[in-house]
Symmetry: C2
DNA sequence: TTGCCGATTATGTATATACAAATTGATTTG
DNA sequence: CAAATCAATTTGTATATACATAATCGGCAA
């Protein structure tokens, strides 16, 4: 190796060996030290390359046992989850926003359960619509824990979407995403300009700030919506 | 710092500062050298911590310009994509598999376009059903490029699902995932024991081996399906 | 044979050092 | 004054070294 070896080069070379079955599934590959010698690199460099392969799910590593090619490539896909506005503007469409409703109803049992909150905790429900080129793009149905984010009570969601308001005013440390297909209810259908019962793509997100639930949001998209990622 | 500082500790501490707005969105945070001094760690350790934060989308880094807290947290979610069998068995259910059909029809234009293949390239279409505790779990509708994977022509998909056969016999280097909601067609509904028009959750995957398309698969789930990930 | 325990070994990570690459901001030049 | 150039700065990465940690394997004892 004349050129100073980069961990990317090593990573790609090893990925190639796996793809070409030179290192077949289940095989134990040489130790870091041996690879370092073979590639003419430092062990730290080999280590970094292998850690990336492990993160990508191509290999499994265990101390003392060594590194082996994953038998069943439990690969992981990464999705970027931007703000709706960015998502829409990123496609070159004009973004518009409309507040639909805002209330403090007693939340249904299922919402309290999802958030892990006791009875009696005040929740704010905000429903709003995000449009791309004036076509309905996403219906946002959100519950906000007013104990955790009291400022939401007085926030003006007419002009700033709760989405963006929360980004500025309610940081979180953990989040859970759920995606599923559902049938549009009558109200949802009306807002999204669909017929009731048509399929919708629903993304749900719950966020916490150190164990403390902040907000639960359902993001409901018309069936034309696609969530795409490349590996 | 009495204990030898770990990059995880640093990462978490810095994440905390961001969450607590000690380092507010958009702020320029101290350089690696300064942080290393503050934490009593080596710059390499600080670097590793910051790289993780950057990968998670919490900060943006540019040479010479420094590191700043992301203004809009374009966070990324990671989904593990296991084999169906593992997915099902992982839930403690018993896995069953059934081949539905296998043919070499002239593929519809849309399939050829998705794969980027010319007219005349032979494609194998395999449809099969994956069951969890004898309930339909996933309908797999797959197109295989026979030019790239000639062995598929003689493979026995009665007992081994094309899913697992391809994992063993057709490695890939790149993949594209798409998720969407759709309405069940009459056949799909029948197989999945749904009514036609009911919403289904569709995952689509295209794989390539170095630019060369291998297979296109649609994985169709009943509406009870959930895709979940935690950040 | 079974179970415990310690030696061995591969990976995990911290550190100091050195240099590369990118980008900014200032300085020089046309 | 604008454009080109250069120096300074910050992150990116490679390297050698040292030690930590997990897991396996072999041996020993019950």
């Amino acid at each position: 190796m004349s050129a100073r070896s980069s961990f990317r080069t090593l990573r790609d070379e090893m990925a190639r060996r796996i793809a070409e079955r030179r290192w077949p599934p289940g095989a134990l590959i040489p130790g870091e030290e041996a690879l370092a010698r073979e590639f003419g690199a430092a062990r730290a460099t080999v280590n970094r390359a292998l850690q990336e392969l492990a993160r990508a799910g191509l290999v499994e590593r265990r101390r003392r046992a060594g590194t082996r090619v994953a038998l069943h490539p439990v690969r992981e896909a990464r999705f970027v989850i931007p703000l709706v506005r960015q998502e829409i503007e990123g496609r070159g469409a004009t973004y518009r926003y409309r507040l639909l409703s805002r209330e403090e109803p007693s939340p249904p049992e299922i919402v309290r359960a999802r958030l892990g909150l006791d009875d009696g905790v005040p929740l704010l429900r905000v429903r709003c619509l995000h449009l791309a080129d004036n076509a309905p793009y996403q219906l946002e149905d959100r519950w906000i824990n007013l104990d955790a984010v009291p400022g939401a009570r007085t926030a003006d969601f007419e002009t700033v979407s709760p989405n963006e308001w929360l980004v500025e005013n309610a940081p979180f440390t953990e989040a859970e995403f759920t995606f599923r297909a559902a049938a549009a209810g009558p109200e949802e259908a009306a807002v999204l300009q669909l017929r009731a019962g048509e399929p919708v793509f629903v993304g749900e997100r719950i966020t916490w700030l150190r164990e403390r639930p902040i907000t639960l949001v359902s993001m409901i998209h018309p069936p034309s919506h696609r969530m795409v990622t490349r590996l």
